[in-house]
């Protein structure tokens, strides 16, 4: 397990997170993945506390890539990162959650660094201009 970058999946929905994890688990077993999905009481939403504990789980010395679904998930992630102040945690902005998480996991499994994974995810970016 050591040596691999972590993946943090931030979604408004617990089930979405679980679903993506299952999808990844089918092919990849030893990449550290943590979920921060839904609120503390199981409702739709995201929470800074959950993001923080996901970082505590997988944000080791290799760092982690954070992927999110909708707007406020990103804001919460940004606030947590401002508080923890570590430069090996990166938010994959405007990257679709399912595809992004899957590709990030594949790349992490190959031993790619957080920076290298971010470059790969760049190709998936959603264009908001149209």
């Amino acid at each position: 397990m050591s040596g691999k970058a972590g993946i943090i999946i931030i979604s408004h929905s617990f089930e979405i997170g679980e679903g993506i994890k299952k999808l990844i688990d089918q092919v990849i077993e030893d990449v550290p993945i943590a979920l921060a999905c839904g609120t503390e009481n199981g409702e739709i939403g995201t929470s800074m506390e959950r993001i923080q504990s996901a970082i505590d789980q997988v944000g080791n010395e290799n760092g982690a890539v954070l992927l999110y679904d909708l707007g406020s998930a990103k804001m919460n992630a940004e606030m947590v990162l401002e508080l923890v102040d570590r430069n090996n945690l990166q938010i994959a902005e405007d990257v679709p959650l399912v595809e992004g998480s899957y590709i990030a996991a594949v790349e992490a499994n190959l031993g790619k660094t957080v920076e290298e994974i971010m470059v790969s995810l760049d190709k998936l970016k959603i264009d908001h201009s149209s």
């Binding site: 800074m48 707007g71 406020s72 804001m75």
Partner: protein
């Protein structure tokens, strides 16, 4: 002259809570039209938690009251409004740290809050978000020698009317494109209640 005391700051939070509760349905209806329909519930829950928390604490400064409110809002309000309002109150708290809140400190705090909302939400003026309302209030405070705080509420109301016909380009409403036209932005409306509550307590004798 001190314009906002600790007691008034606590009262501000209570007045906000009262208004969110009164307008819960309205905020929800607005959010159902162009968002995910939880703004009324979220705001009521958030400020109910805020008032419950500050009720049990003796605060030394306005800054501490607002910091407490900020932390609670970040943790308890779902949706984008938690981080945005949390950031706004946190920035105000930082601007007021170690200071009595006179007119100058107050105006500076609002300005910092607006900058905070701007950088957190990455919205620019005219994108039909709460940032429109907050930035207009800050502009008003910057330009005016304020004798009548009620002017802030008028600015909020005017901005809400001005942005009603705009197309939202930020947040969940932006997915609706043209269909967001004609609907009032829920975050702008809840911002109005925050300023209404503020004006109410500023006009109390400190």
């Amino acid at each position: 002259m001190i314009i906002l005391t600790v007691d008034q700051a606590v009262e501000w939070m209570k007045e906000i809570q009262k208004r969110m509760d009164e307008h819960k349905e309205q905020l929800t209806v607005l959010d159902q039209a162009i968002g995910d329909g939880d703004h009324g519930i979220n705001m009521t829950r958030g400020f109910t938690e805020v008032t419950a928390k500050i009720h049990h604490v003796n605060y030394d400064s306005v800054s501490d009251v607002l910091k407490s409110a900020a932390m609670t809002l970040m943790a308890k309000v779902g949706g984008a409004s938690g981080p945005l309002y949390g950031t706004a109150f946190l920035k105000m708290s930082v601007a007021m740290q170690g200071k009595d809140v006179d007119e100058h400190v107050f105006k500076q705090a609002i300005k910092e809050a607006v900058d905070g909302i701007h950088s957190r939400g990455k919205a620019d003026f005219g994108e039909k978000t709460m940032y429109d309302v907050w930035s207009q209030v800050a502009d008003f405070l910057e330009e005016e020698e304020v004798n009548d705080w009620g002017g802030m509420v008028e600015v909020c109301q005017a901005t809400i009317e001005d942005t009603r016909e705009m197309i939202a380009t930020k947040g969940r409403a932006s997915y609706l494109k043209e269909r967001s036209k004609g609907h009032v932005d829920p975050g702008s409306m809840s911002s109005l209640y925050i300023f209404e509550a503020l004006v109410e307590v500023l006009e109390l004798e400190g």
